[in-house]
């Protein structure tokens, strides 16, 4: 039992770090391009066009999202890798992935041949991108469940330790 617990815990760490790396990478390709031996900041308009292709939001909202979302993804990626604020980071990641996936499914069903916007420009929505994002969401939900379960266990053990003893 102790061995299987250990394995589950290690698997959870691997899953969390992998998810963090994927998020950090997704943010990196939206924000930067490495050419001529240095890092260039990519224009936000590229990601704005990818968001706009879903035809859901007004232009102002698209602009705000395009300017902020990649940095938020980067922060989530770093938090997941570092294992900090885990309940917040994993829940936010799951929520984001659920939104992304539902929008992609909607576009796919509507037959829109648009850029997915997941890992930079040039990737058209297909069953492969849906499968990939679906797997990421499943992994993220597991990490989230693990983070909340661990939090509960820790709280319960703290409650036991501080329980007032009757004289």
């Amino acid at each position: 039992m102790a061995i299987s617990n250990k394995i589950v815990r290690r698997l959870a760490i691997v899953l969390r770090v992998a998810l963090g790396v994927v998020f950090a990478y997704a943010a990196y390709v939206k924000l930067f391009q490495f050419t001529d031996g240095r890092l260039h900041l990519l224009p936000w308009q590229l990601f704005a066009m990818a968001i706009d292709s879903y035809q859901l939001l007004p232009q102002t909202a698209v602009e705000i999202l395009a300017r902020t979302l990649p940095w938020f993804e980067l922060a989530l990626g770093i938090l997941l890798i570092a294992g900090r604020w885990l309940r917040f980071a994993s829940a936010a990641t799951s929520l984001l992935l659920a939104v992304f996936l539902s929008l992609m499914v909607r576009a796919y069903i509507k037959g829109q041949e648009i850029s997915c916007g997941c890992f930079g420009p040039g990737e058209i929505i297909s069953w492969k991108t849906l499968l990939r994002d679906g797997s990421l969401l499943a992994a993220s939900l597991l990490v989230t469940a693990g983070a909340f379960w661990r939090g509960r266990v820790r709280r319960e053990s703290m409650d036991r330790d501080t329980l007032p003893t009757t004289p």
């Binding site: 066009m49 292709s53 041949e113 850029s115 420009p121 040039g122």
Partner: protein
């Protein structure tokens, strides 16, 4: 040794330079600060949309003032529905050698819904050519170098990589990236203005 070095340098310069025929497919000044490489297929409806709706705006706002150069590339998709794409690309490439790429591209896109079903590509192209030009284009389209040029465009697209048509690649200095499709002109304008400021 020096002669060999000179030949090697010359070969490198020649290989790096765009092929001569490509000059006919460039809109605007080749030395413009921003370059947009457009990979399209004459049978693709989205390419028609780009050519007829967006390209005229880019030409008016950026190509004419010398700020952007648009370089057209053939990327005939290898799918059963696009039976005449390569033939259309060959005619357009042949026309580019006579500096009449634009009128040929215009008519191919304008009449897309007709020739893509009838297969009457030449009849469509011929409507915008003089009898003299028709003779030249018909001779050029049989030239293996024209077909090789279409294949070179496809190879260049595959190297980018082009995953769908149209694909627009923006180059500014050392930066080089695809623009997500469909292109929102307001965002594209903001992007180009940001570089040109």
């Amino acid at each position: 040794m020096k002669a060999m070095l000179f030949v090697a340098c010359l070969a490198a310069v020649c290989l790096a330079a765009p092929p001569d025929a490509d000059k006919g497919k460039i809109l605007g000044t080749p030395s413009a600060p921003i370059r947009l490489d457009v990979y399209s297929d004459f049978e693709c409806p989205a390419c028609k949309n780009f050519h007829e709706q967006m390209l005229p705006l880019i030409v008016r706002d950026y190509v004419m003032p010398g700020k952007v150069a648009v370089v057209n590339h053939e990327f005939p998709l290898n799918i059963p529905e696009h039976k005449y794409s390569r033939e259309a690309a060959a005619y357009a490439t042949a026309a580019a050698r006579l500096d009449i790429y634009q009128p040929v591209a215009d008519v191919l896109f304008r009449q897309q819904s007709t020739w893509m079903f009838t297969g009457r590509v030449w009849e469509t192209v011929a409507t915008v050519l003089t009898p003299e030009q028709q003779k030249h284009v018909q001779a050029l389209v049989k030239d293996p170098s024209v077909l090789a040029e279409v294949s070179r465009d496809v190879d260049a697209g595959n190297r980018e990589p082009v995953r769908a048509t149209p694909t627009i690649i923006l180059s500014y200095g050392s930066q080089h990236f695809p623009i997500p499709w469909p292109v929102n002109y307001n965002f594209l304008r903001s992007l180009l203005n940001g570089y040109l400021k």
